[in-house]
């Protein structure tokens, strides 16, 4: 399959952004070395309790990272092509599917960073209907066993759930039972014990990481913006892939400090910042340069984006590590604010709090887990007077990315935006959020 478009890299301002990538690369090398030394390797996902694996000295890798990495290395089309050769529809979720496409690739010699080592086991839960199916195909191709877990959906969503972290007890209980069962399984499978004191320490580390991330989020409200999405997306590496670790805390402390320094010095990421944009969906990982594309011409900065986390750190007790992990991973996180109605309210609230002039919503039609509720978001934003535009794109697939057209559409959209409307739209957003009940049965 011919590559027709080569994506643009983003421009990063912070040292820690570059260091994050280097840390991930080193992590990858360590993983390969661990495999070569016969140490256990597990593939898992960012929505699983990675702290459990870490304290058991089980090396873990997240194939979602490899999907983004392969896209950035412009290899997605080859991997997606493998799927179609196998007979899969073009319209299956390409972000998830690309990982299977890599597994099925016959020539892995040029795989980015040498390719992830084949795991001894993959552990994942049904965050949607597709994950485990893909897992079964991967496991069949590579011959490793699976450990499947489950996820539940709420029967109610409380108002502003990303603040209150409220969920039903029966969901938490089910998650806790599953985590205890996972621990017992891992202990048996890898012949090692989990030290509960170490798990408490890992949870404490994660709590601190989320607190640091939240601090950065508060700093990002500053006008002009100290950083843009281009830097923020580089720094998701620690919060996504290094949870439970001291290294993660160090990386995020550095991130917080660099952002704070810029705020203290009044340094703007876009010196002539005029328009503040919000990108509430996942990135097109093959061309992150899109986040810088409107800075020079329009003074438009992407100041807020998808990777926001609830204020979970206020409400957990590391002395109860299993319960804390259940609250983080199995409660509302994925389901409640990644889907309507939570997602709709979350978008309006953050558009208000980050003084947003316009919202650019990327519609990757094959990915329902991320790109859902878009028309509802747009309608809600319209009600509060914040303009938005939906652009057709994809997370990894360049076939749905028409670069010039997209840039032209966003450019035209930016020209219609008016920062003087901010006070009025903030007032209306507050009214809207008060009116939304958001209490399901």
């Amino acid at each position: 399959m011919a590559q027709q478009f080569v994506g643009e890299r983003s421009i990063k301002l912070l040292n820690c952004s570059r260091e994050s990538t280097a840390a991930m690369k080193q992590y990858f090398k360590n993983l390969q070395a661990a495999k070569a030394a016969g140490e256990p390797v597990v593939w898992t996902a960012t929505w699983e309790p990675q702290e459990i694996f870490r304290v058991m000295d089980i090396n873990i890798y997240f194939m979602v990272h490899y999907a983004a990495l392969s896209a950035a290395k412009q290899l997605s089309m080859r991997y997606l092509g493998n799927l179609q050769e196998e007979g899969f529809s073009k319209d299956i979720c390409r972000y998830c599917g690309q990982r299977l496409g890599f597994v099925l690739d016959k020539n892995k010699e040029d795989a980015p960073w040498g390719g992830p080592p084949t795991p001894d086991l993959e552990v994942k839960s049904c965050v949607d209907d597709l994950q485990d199916k893909i897992l079964e195909y991967k496991a069949k191709a590579l011959g490793f066993p699976l450990y499947l877990m489950d996820r539940t959906w709420p029967t109610r969503v409380s108002k502003g759930m990303w603040h209150t972290w409220d969920t039903e007890d029966y969901r938490l209980e089910y998650a806790m039972k599953q985590y205890r069962q996972l621990i017992a399984f891992l202990e048996n499978f890898f012949h090692r014990r989990l030290d509960m004191e170490k798990l408490k320490e890992a949870v404490r580390n994660t709590v601190e990481m989320f607190r640091l991330w939240w601090e950065v989020d508060q700093l990002r409200k500053t006008i002009p913006a100290p950083i843009t999405t281009a830097d923020h997306y580089s720094n998701i590496i620690p919060i996504q892939f290094f949870r439970g670790t001291k290294q993660g805390i160090e990386m995020l402390t550095k991130y917080r400090d660099e952002v704070k320094e810029r705020v203290d010095k009044g340094l703007a990421a876009v010196p002539n910042e005029r328009i503040r944009l919000f990108w509430p969906e996942i990135a097109p990982w093959f061309t992150p340069g899109i986040f810088n594309a409107f800075e020079d011409k329009y003074g438009a900065a992407f100041v807020f984006d998808q990777y926001h986390y609830p204020e979970w750190f206020h409400q957990v007790d590391p002395e109860k590590p299993i319960e804390s992990l259940a609250k983080l991973y199995a409660a509302p996180y994925a389901e409640d604010y990644a889907n309507a109605p939570g997602k709709v309210e979350w978008t309006v609230e953050h558009a208000r709090d980050y003084s947003i002039d316009g919202v650019v919503i990327m519609w990757a039609e094959s990915c329902k887990a991320f790109c859902n509720s878009l028309l509802l978001m747009q309608r809600a934003l319209s009600k509060v007077g914040i303009p938005s535009i939906i652009i057709k794109g994809d997370i990894v697939d360049i076939r749905d990315w028409h670069d010039q057209k997209i840039k032209s559409e966003i450019g035209d959209f930016i020209e219609t935006l008016d920062p003087s409307r901010r006070p009025e739209s903030k007032r209306r957003a507050t009214e809207f959020l008060e009116q939304m009940g958001s209490t399901l049965r």
Binding site: D129, Y137, W363, K368, R379
Partner: protein
């Protein structure tokens, strides 16, 4: 009117029993998908009626809120709920079934909240993907909660005896329907795929006791039905809540002798086993029944598909998938590989609209498949 004609009428008109129940002051609960434990609604003295679309009605209001990249079946249901087409119901029940259904429910809640569009209260039954002991315990808890909700809605305490009675009625219905399904697998088949959808589906719009009576009558008359002629095909794929596609396939010289569709052969499979606790009995049936494509592991569905193909002796298979029916799209390659064992041809058609929008294209393809089989 024969029993079959009566069932056809109920299947076509949907609201005959619903109106009667409402006129008599009884409550009607409309539900979506085969993953709702209907026995609970029945035991509460309410009439369960399935939510279905209508291929002749284009979506309008729903298009304002739901993206085009969405299951074409759920788009129709979503639209009709927002247009008030199901407002005769006292409540709507939506299970945690596939991703499209669960998100569709959340979209509905949001629209109700944001736009003030009124439609019946919605109830929610969560359902795990797994089938291990923890998943079972979780699901039993959800079915118990649903029992309580239906008690509150109906104003009636549901006793264990009520549940056992409902189980008996539903098990009888499943047993009778299984006899019907068996008749499409004979050589020659006694019942077509279209007739099967009508017979099974009609029971979703009338009290099961009445459906049982009609089925018994039909089974007594079954010898009077002419044997069906045509190339034997098996249909795999998305939910079909009307006969448009099935009729079309069968108009191309084929007879559909089996399927793995939730509104078809899968609906009556697996009786509720009599356990001391009726809630556990019902939960077991719904969790361990023939796998819906949203369940894991995929290996179970492969096994189930293979067995169904083996039992119905088809000469070919059609995979017919609605637009953005993601679970089925992922399953296809595994199911296709399974067909190698049978050495029969298949045709794969995905991303189909709810309404048959390009019948000529389908006709050409089905006829080509039939010709390739018949030589």
């Amino acid at each position: 009117m024969s029993s079959f004609e009566t069932m056809q009428r109920y299947y076509r008109e949907h609201d005959i029993a619903l109106k009667k129940w409402k006129d008599e002051g009884s409550k009607v609960v409309m539900y979506l998908c085969a993953n709702v434990p209907e026995e609970i609604i029945h035991a509460a003295g309410m009439l369960p009626v399935r939510l279905v679309g209508d291929p002749l009605i284009p979506t309008t209001v729903g298009d304002l809120y739901m993206e085009d990249s969405y299951c074409s079946f759920m788009r129709v249901i979503f639209d009709q709920i927002l247009r008030g087409n199901f407002n005769q119901a006292d409540a709507i029940v939506i299970p945690h079934s596939c991703d499209a259904i669960i998100r569709g429910a959340k979209y509905l809640w949001t629209v109700k909240d944001m736009e003030g569009i009124e439609f019946p209260d919605m109830y929610w039954v969560d359902m795990p993907h797994n089938k291990d002991l923890l998943a079972y315990e979780f699901y039993v808890g959800r079915v118990r909660a649903f029992r309580k909700e239906m008690e509150e809605l109906s104003g009636k305490t549901i006793s264990d005896d009520d549940l056992f009675q409902a189980i008996e009625v539903y098990n009888k219905n499943r047993t009778l329907l299984q006899r019907i399904v068996a008749l499409r697998k004979t050589d020659p088949p006694r019942i077509s795929g279209t007739e099967t959808l009508q017979i099974i589906g009609s029971g979703m719009f009338m009290p099961k006791e009445e459906h049982n009576r009609l089925l018994e009558e039909l089974l007594r008359e079954i010898d009077s039905l002419p044997p069906k002629k045509g190339t034997r095909l098996f249909l795999s794929g998305s939910c079909l809540d009307n006969t448009e596609v099935m009729e079309f396939i069968e108009s191309c010289g084929a007879v559909v002798v089996g399927d793995d569709i939730c509104t078809g052969d899968r609906y009556p499979e697996n009786l509720v086993e009599l356990l001391p606790d009726p809630v556990e009995a019902i939960a077991s049936r719904y969790l361990y029944k023939a796998p819906c494509p949203r369940m894991v592991p995929l290996a179970n569905r492969i096994k189930d598909f293979s067995q169904k193909v083996r039992d119905s002796h088809p000469q070919g298979v059609i995979f017919y998938l609605l637009r953005w029916c993601d679970s089925n799209m992922w399953d296809y390659v595994a199911l296709r590989d399974e067909l190698k064992e049978f050495d029969i041809p298949h045709y794969y058609l995905d991303m189909q609209e709810y309404r048959l929008t390009n019948p000529e294209s389908l006709k050409t393809r089905v006829e080509a498949l039939v010709e390739s089989i018949e030589g």
